[in-house]
Symmetry: D2
Subunit: 360 residues, 4 copies
Amino acid sequence: MTQSAKIKIAIVGASGYTGLELARLLATHPQADVVAVTSEQNPGVAYDRFFPGLRGFVSPHLTLSAIGQKDQQGKWPGLDSLLKKAEVFFTALPHGTSTECVNYLYEKGARIIDLSADFRLKNLEVYEAWYGQHTAAHLVPEAVYGIPEFHRADMKKTRIIANPGCYPTSAIFALAPLLKHELIDTKTIVIDSKSGTSGAGRTAKQNILFSEISEGIRAYGVAHHRHTPEIEQELSSLAGHDIRVTFTPHLVPMHRGILTVAYGQLKDLKTDAQILELYRAFYKNECYVRVTDELPDSRNVRGSYFVDLSVRIDARTQRVIAISTIDNLNRGASGQAIAGFNLMMGFDEGLGLNHPPLLP
Amino acid sequence: MTQSAKIKIAIVGASGYTGLELARLLATHPQADVVAVTSEQNPGVAYDRFFPGLRGFVSPHLTLSAIGQKDQQGKWPGLDSLLKKAEVFFTALPHGTSTECVNYLYEKGARIIDLSADFRLKNLEVYEAWYGQHTAAHLVPEAVYGIPEFHRADMKKTRIIANPGCYPTSAIFALAPLLKHELIDTKTIVIDSKSGTSGAGRTAKQNILFSEISEGIRAYGVAHHRHTPEIEQELSSLAGHDIRVTFTPHLVPMHRGILTVAYGQLKDLKTDAQILELYRAFYKNECYVRVTDELPDSRNVRGSYFVDLSVRIDARTQRVIAISTIDNLNRGASGQAIAGFNLMMGFDEGLGLNHPPLLP
Amino acid sequence: MTQSAKIKIAIVGASGYTGLELARLLATHPQADVVAVTSEQNPGVAYDRFFPGLRGFVSPHLTLSAIGQKDQQGKWPGLDSLLKKAEVFFTALPHGTSTECVNYLYEKGARIIDLSADFRLKNLEVYEAWYGQHTAAHLVPEAVYGIPEFHRADMKKTRIIANPGCYPTSAIFALAPLLKHELIDTKTIVIDSKSGTSGAGRTAKQNILFSEISEGIRAYGVAHHRHTPEIEQELSSLAGHDIRVTFTPHLVPMHRGILTVAYGQLKDLKTDAQILELYRAFYKNECYVRVTDELPDSRNVRGSYFVDLSVRIDARTQRVIAISTIDNLNRGASGQAIAGFNLMMGFDEGLGLNHPPLLP
Amino acid sequence: MTQSAKIKIAIVGASGYTGLELARLLATHPQADVVAVTSEQNPGVAYDRFFPGLRGFVSPHLTLSAIGQKDQQGKWPGLDSLLKKAEVFFTALPHGTSTECVNYLYEKGARIIDLSADFRLKNLEVYEAWYGQHTAAHLVPEAVYGIPEFHRADMKKTRIIANPGCYPTSAIFALAPLLKHELIDTKTIVIDSKSGTSGAGRTAKQNILFSEISEGIRAYGVAHHRHTPEIEQELSSLAGHDIRVTFTPHLVPMHRGILTVAYGQLKDLKTDAQILELYRAFYKNECYVRVTDELPDSRNVRGSYFVDLSVRIDARTQRVIAISTIDNLNRGASGQAIAGFNLMMGFDEGLGLNHPPLLP
């Protein structure tokens, strides 16, 4: 296939880590051609000077532009000029501000993979309780929650993919077999997740300085993190009834990686071997999910698209402990977005994603 | 008080991190004089060459000796020579091997703060289920589990203190007010702990190389960690009935620090303010326990003796989330051992321990 | 000595890492009473909430105040109110802005240890070439460059100490014996220094986020770092003639520590043993300088006031390689400032500074 | 090209980081088929259980074997069985022990890329002064020192490539333009290099434990590191006369990356712009060398094959400061070995190596 036949892509919001990860992965994707990148703060900067590590992987002429705002006539020049260049848009804008942009692009016929939280929650009441008013509620039904392993068929048919959050992705993979097989008392689910700092973004904030992160660990957003309803939506769907969970995220002194440990009370005691076999069977057709005897280590997925999973029984308390790990920027954000793009365009789901992890 | 009046101390097992931390803290303790240090692998090495950072804080004549073994006549020359020099022994030997040594020292009239797990579990059946046969079972009743805040009176009267494990210390502080006040269903306790790597020791092992730890997180010992029965013993004692918990430890890429997040189902819903007030009241006389509105950060206790604590309610699930953090080497091991020494000798509990944390 | 007899101290600029390190060290200094702390950005915040790790070590009533600005009548209310409370001022303001503040305090009779660069350079032309115009040039002769080992006598007699920079401190200790003994060709000096990130400050900047620092190393300020003339001033003074050096700083993914490797061409070849002996002799009366056979490791001074030093000969090229390490916040900033305070007040030089390093 | 047409490869010594990096990179190399991996310590272990991160990238049937030793009849069964399977051998054995193995394989007609130091030094006297006796000296002339940018033509024609050391690679790129253009006094070269810990290997050693590395920096091998003669050989060749350098390596708390800062006295003063232009011209045909205006950051090459370079003039001392950075495992070891394989086999030099760096 010639260069000209590649899909023209715009990354809207390319100055953060998810934008960088999209650019990194798309640089070697055989069907992608990133033709536009945007940043409201850094218009005019060549992208390979903005991220010098990308030199040689993006055109030296690829330059950050600003999308600006919609004008009073309802036109949005910054997006219109992108629409002339690109047919698929990865929108990685701050949660909330992306709604209007996605709506505009959708109206103009574009295909969108949205990395914000705006189109993930199907229940508007829930959305508004956690995020405030929704400005493009009519699009919510069209958007498909983009975990291929759970929504593959729908992802192939939509023009908007709501790319899942990093914590929800890890939690859903850990708990899905238990819920699908109705093995646990769904009132007893506790999800304890640990994330690297790239999940906290690239904006200069004192509390994520190296000197404030290294050699320490802390929980945050306890009992109030916005990924909670997203986790609950997908778990409820798997279980067939409404589920509420306790979810605790932590910040760990590392760049990449989420390790999620999920706890639940078993209805009937199982052995480690039985539960592992059940997980293996559940994911047996999924080549990007690796169920292992050994406990997962986030290092084994760093830089890769894999979900590594294992599970144990605490026989003394009849509790199951499911452990998953993903790279928060790859499977937890940009990699999964590209899988969504692949499905939407009819490509092989893992095209451009099949990289081994960087070890060590 | 003159130099000669200080208490003569031997550190038996001084080549690891707990030994180093004892030496570091005792170096500026006004009543302590470390007169002997031992290491089976490094006899004859001056201690300030073994740990060059200690140069100037220990005598250049303080040299590592080996304790060797008991002979066939039941004499133990390596310990006998220590008994001539020292009156108090901090034993930081590998779990199991320290039993015989402690027994010998005790028989000879010494005072012992034992940092192994050998004398922590009061129920011998439990001990043997987790550790194997006990070779000095008759001493177990004499040993006092050494968290000052919970066993202060007994610690003052004993000649053997069983210094608590790092994870149990953090978990017990987090959960004690809930159990004492009977606020939670004790069948629902989940304890998820994250530790720095110094807890894994100083012995050369491939899985704790920098290149195998940095930029990663992993759980280990899931459902089987030996600190579980120790946590259960103390929580059961606080609750007044037998409790079983699920306990999951993790290894985090940092030197020092444990962050423990403990979950339990509340019998009656409370507010954050109510539960915080209850915690504050519970620890109000304890100057080394800091109950804070803010969520704890392990960095705030690094190098110090403090326990930092906070607690939250997840109203949506009626669950309480108690979070504690300690320095695993200081409060989680050597600092608490020194508090035990202080109590045993009639000194002020915090003598030599009142250092601010090292930030950043 | 009673509490009331302690010296009342104000830390002007207490929200950064040098301020925090001053507070940490002064908290256990037997003659210091920190009565005021300032921050222009955070007035009104209790200091032990601003730095929760300090809880229990500073009064809960110690609250950050703003110093504001001098008014048109030449009065400075923010400083006047401090002058009523405190007699000694540690000024840790951004370089340049502190000049006027120091001048005002000096005029009012206060004693000042200034942690900025404003009073370090004795040659005004040099100062202005690197920093711009000096607004209190008349005070420069009064200020004493505050490395006790080299300016002890003068430090005892002054009311202004210009506290040295972190890199210069490490470089001067490494090279002093070579220059004093005229062992090297002074045109051949290359100084290659590596620093932890706390030296880059606590202000939110993107390039010092954890995600931008961890797992990387970079040089910065190559051939243009402002510590160059400060190093040259002191080395020239030791050599008795003007010296120019090449100085390259680096940012290393760690909190604390500077390792400086200094190179020079030997006039006459020496052995390792000879040069080590010469260093030992040079520093033989200095208890906070540890000359060791082993190569220094920055970890061995972390959190401490020590300078660790060693030196090697590259016989093949007749070059000497002198290596020093310090804690950039302690000996490289706040610890040395407290030594200056001690000397100025007639206390023992190391009062409150004799802490062992935190290992690991 | 079909699967069967790929080149059959054996990795002899596959349990360390260079072996892992070879396996990682070859897993997605379009012309490589790794058919054998060896480890003397772990025979019989499936390679994707040995390195679980590789699961899905190597055959589940690829199992570590031991090569054992040559027997008294001069047969080497362990290698003979490999020779039946593979035609190209990457030998990543400890320096010294690989000599005999390479010799045996060469005699049997195999092609070899040797990652040890054994065939790098062309002058046997120099080799023996630094490494001891050479047991296959007759092969040294046949071996080509494998930096493509400097020895491309010879690499295409040989059956043995001596893969360069990590430090030498970084130093040679930094200094080559200066030497080729005779811009510096070659008696003044100082090379100060900083490396991540993966360069220290994967063998369990106490001094590279996380707890002994994190939060610290130290120099090692000062004036005696074995990469010195290797650097000198190549620099001498570029200069056309014998050169001796001072070389100082450091261990930095990060996985991957080397930053080398090289200093030299300019014969004639140049500007930054002039020297940068000269570097750009020197490397203008090399697509894996990125000469940048900005100072290099090791993070920008992590996981990649690139050499990033910049250069500055210290006009005050007429010194040039050349800075290079590479990934020590990729360009500094396994990546460059694969480039050597590519050249040897007639493939495109960068085949399978054109990956962007992993950021952050």
